[in-house]
């Protein structure tokens, strides 16, 4: 008997299959497992509210690894993720004679990427909303993510990841990412869930909710999403919030009409509310 082929491979790994709280599609599982097996970063895109950020959490939980989060902002530089050399503190200390100024290492502050590399075991690193940062930001990270190592210039110290962290990168498409960066990533676009999956997702979040209400709410929700003129179509997180509000308020049935209860939880823009009122009015006139 030959052993099953996968055990002969050097890179056997624990597969990700979703968690109790996070439901995945086969496509997403394949993408995550590709990223795990090839040890490449996973780039996740998709409509806001489809659970891009939660994915990293689910992977960390599913694989039992610690999660480090790097929230990228418009002012974030690549260097911030590696380490910061706190010169001001050192200047301050040297002026007032506090602490040991000679030891530069005391003034190195590790960023999330630095922490992930220095961790003794494998970690999950979430680089959230990478597109928020400057255009050059992803390029500056290419080398570090590829080789999983960097050099601290001030101390001549080389930081090498003991185990390559699982890197999950999310993007909201506000900026295009450079090709060289994209080529190094495994890519997944989170689809909007279909009715069946959405039902399962809702069940995960609201196990006690009345079936009839869930069905009605989903019908209204998917009808709303078909209004093409909406600027921001409601997504999963809005639906879950809306159901929570409905439940808290004790609403027992909903219909798509102008006086939809708590519509503000679904539609966040003033123009969208107007569009919705028009559409609902048109429905009533027809029906």
């Amino acid at each position: 008997m030959t052993p099953p082929p996968s055990s002969r491979l050097p890179n056997t790994f624990r597969r990700f299959t979703g968690t109790d709280r996070y439901l995945t599609s086969p496509g997403l599982q394949a993408a995550v497992n590709c990223a795990l097996a090839l040890e490449r970063p996973l780039l996740v895109k998709g409509e806001p509210g489809t659970g891009k950020t939660l994915l990293a959490d689910a992977i960390a939980t599913g694989l039992g690894l610690p999660l480090l989060t790097w929230n990228v902002k418009s002012t974030t530089r690549a260097q911030d993720g590696l380490y910061l050399y706190d010169t001001v503190q050192r200047l301050h200390d040297s002026r007032f004679g506090d602490g040991d100024v000679k030891d530069i290492r005391r003034y190195i502050r590790w960023g999330p990427l630095g922490q992930a590399f220095r961790a003794p075991g494998r970690t999950v690193l979430l680089i959230d909303e990478v597109d928020k940062a400057d255009l050059e930001f992803p390029n500056d990270l290419l080398h570090e993510l590829d080789r999983m190592r960097f050099r601290v210039l001030e101390t001549e110290e080389e930081i090498v990841a003991a185990e390559r962290p699982v890197v999950i990168i999310t993007s909201n498409n506000e900026k295009e990412l450079p090709d060289a960066f994209l080529r190094r990533c495994v890519f997944h676009f989170i689809d909007f869930p279909d009715l069946e999956l959405m039902k399962r997702i809702v069940r995960v979040h609201h196990p006690t909710l009345d079936d009839a209400l869930v069905d009605q709410a989903l019908e209204v929700f998917f009808q709303l999403r078909t209004l093409t003129r909406l600027r921001k179509r409601p997504s999963t997180s809005e639906l879950v919030d809306w159901l929570a509000v409905l439940q808290a308020a004790g609403v027992s049935s909903v219909k798509l009409e102008a006086e939809l209860p708590f519509v503000g939880a679904l539609l966040k823009k003033e123009q969208d509310l107007e569009t919705f009122a028009e559409a609902a009015g048109a429905r009533r006139a027809r029906g």
């Binding site: 890179n11 590709c34 495994v186």
Partner: protein
């Protein structure tokens, strides 16, 4: 086996190269595709596609390359099971020798149980073999049968879509970048149009400068400040409204809101006109609050980026109507086309976005306007090109 597929992808303009091929080979070697076409679809998509704009092209390539494979495999599996079931239902004396032989070797119930167990194991452990799609296995089920059951049914998960059906549905057509765009996509395209400069009050700590000054100062702390980085792009947007533009109003509206949302510009001014610029433009869509073009040219230096949105479709004489900055149709003023010329000459960087598709650009007035303005279609790709054109030569400043 999958290399021809990569060339198929390239034919559909999905830019794959050696890097993708190697990654795909490694993933297949690790058995990530679970020896199934559906699995292969997911794995190949994760590795070969780098942007949702390529998903549709990927689906098409996949369909072109693999259509026919699935049905053949599935049909064989069903045929085999049906044949065995039929044979087992016959009384023993009616069976043909082959049927008896097959039934002796394989008990149908046991076979079914084995099938199911295998499938359960497969689903639970998710460990596939290293069989290529369509290569033959060694199980008692027969080659095609086993490959088909393992491959095509196991991923189906309660009536879910199979890879070919997903590919055929073309769910991602909406994300292609040569299609007309939505606000977010427009905003994204506009973001490329930016430049920064440091000016204004120095209120940001210049760390390098401070260290330098402190060192020069023999260790006495000397703080150096600098002005913060600020955006330095100014954009002038002229929108054609009414008449033949009405069908495009929605699109223009989206572009306008995308431009409004853009926070990386120092200044954005929007004016409206109808058909052609005649000496003055208007602050509102209802043509109230006119501003003479001469004032506009005086206010906005040549370093402003001028973007005109319009279909440039009108009766030819409308390009030749004369007007001044104060009066419409005033014989003393220059023609509409001359006003356009002045705008194009004044601004170093100008572009015309046309919601009409380029196939309609043979119209006479469009041809005339194209001689004055570089024209781009109002699609995501066109907007991207226009922005690249506008951003060229960086921050030319007056």
């Amino acid at each position: 086996m999958f290399v021809p597929f990569l060339y198929e992808l390239r034919r559909h303009r999905v830019p794959v190269g050696a890097q993708e091929a190697v990654a795909l080979a490694r993933a297949l070697e690790a058995g990530l595709h679970d020896s199934s076409l559906d699995g292969f679809y997911d794995v190949a998509r994760a590795l070969c596609v780098h942007s949702e704009t390529q998903l549709d092209a990927f689906d098409q390539a996949f369909l072109a390359h693999f259509k026919g494979i699935e049905s053949a495999g599935q049909a064989l599996a069903e045929e085999l099971l049906a044949w065995l079931r039929q044979a087992s239902e016959k009384p023993p004396r009616d069976r043909t020798p082959e049927e008896s032989e097959a039934l002796e070797a394989l008990d149908v119930a046991a076979l079914q149980a084995l099938f199911e167990r295998r499938m359960r194991e497969q689903r639970r452990r998710h460990e596939g073999g290293d069989r290529w799609i369509g290569t033959r296995g060694t199980s008692p089920f027969g080659n095609a049968g086993r490959a088909a059951v393992e491959g095509f049914r196991i991923e189906g998960q309660g009536g879910g879509r199979s890879a070919l059906k997903t590919a055929d549905a073309r769910l991602y057509r909406g994300y292609r970048d040569d299609q007309v765009l939505d606000t977010r996509a427009m905003g994204m395209a506009l973001r490329k149009l930016r430049a920064f400069t440091r000016e204004g009050a120095p209120d940001e700590l210049d760390l390098d400068g401070t260290i330098d000054a402190t060192a020069r100062n023999a260790g006495e702390l000397e703080v150096v400040l600098r002005p913060p980085r600020r955006p330095d792009t100014r954009v002038l947007l002229l929108l054609d409204v009414g008449g033949s533009m009405t069908p495009h109003a929605h699109l223009v509206d989206r572009l306008f809101s995308a431009a409004k949302q853009a926070t990386h510009w120092k200044e954005l001014r929007t004016y409206y006109f109808h058909n052609c610029v005649y000496g003055r433009v208007f602050r509102t869509e209802r043509f109230l609050d006119p501003v003479p073009v001469t004032t506009l040219l005086a206010d906005c230096g040549p370093h402003w980026k001028l973007v005109v949105v319009g279909d440039a479709l009108m009766a030819p004489y409308e390009l030749m109507l004369r007007s001044t900055g104060l009066e419409m149709y005033d014989e003393r003023g220059p023609e509409g086309v001359v006003w356009l010329m002045q705008l194009a000459e004044h601004f170093h960087r100008h572009a015309w976005l046309n919601p009409e598709p380029p196939t309609a650009w043979w119209a006479q007035t469009i041809r005339t306007v194209r001689r004055l303005f570089p024209m781009f279609p109002l699609t995501l790709a066109g907007l991207g090109e226009a922005v690249n054109h506008l951003a060229r030569r960086g921050t030319a400043r007056a």
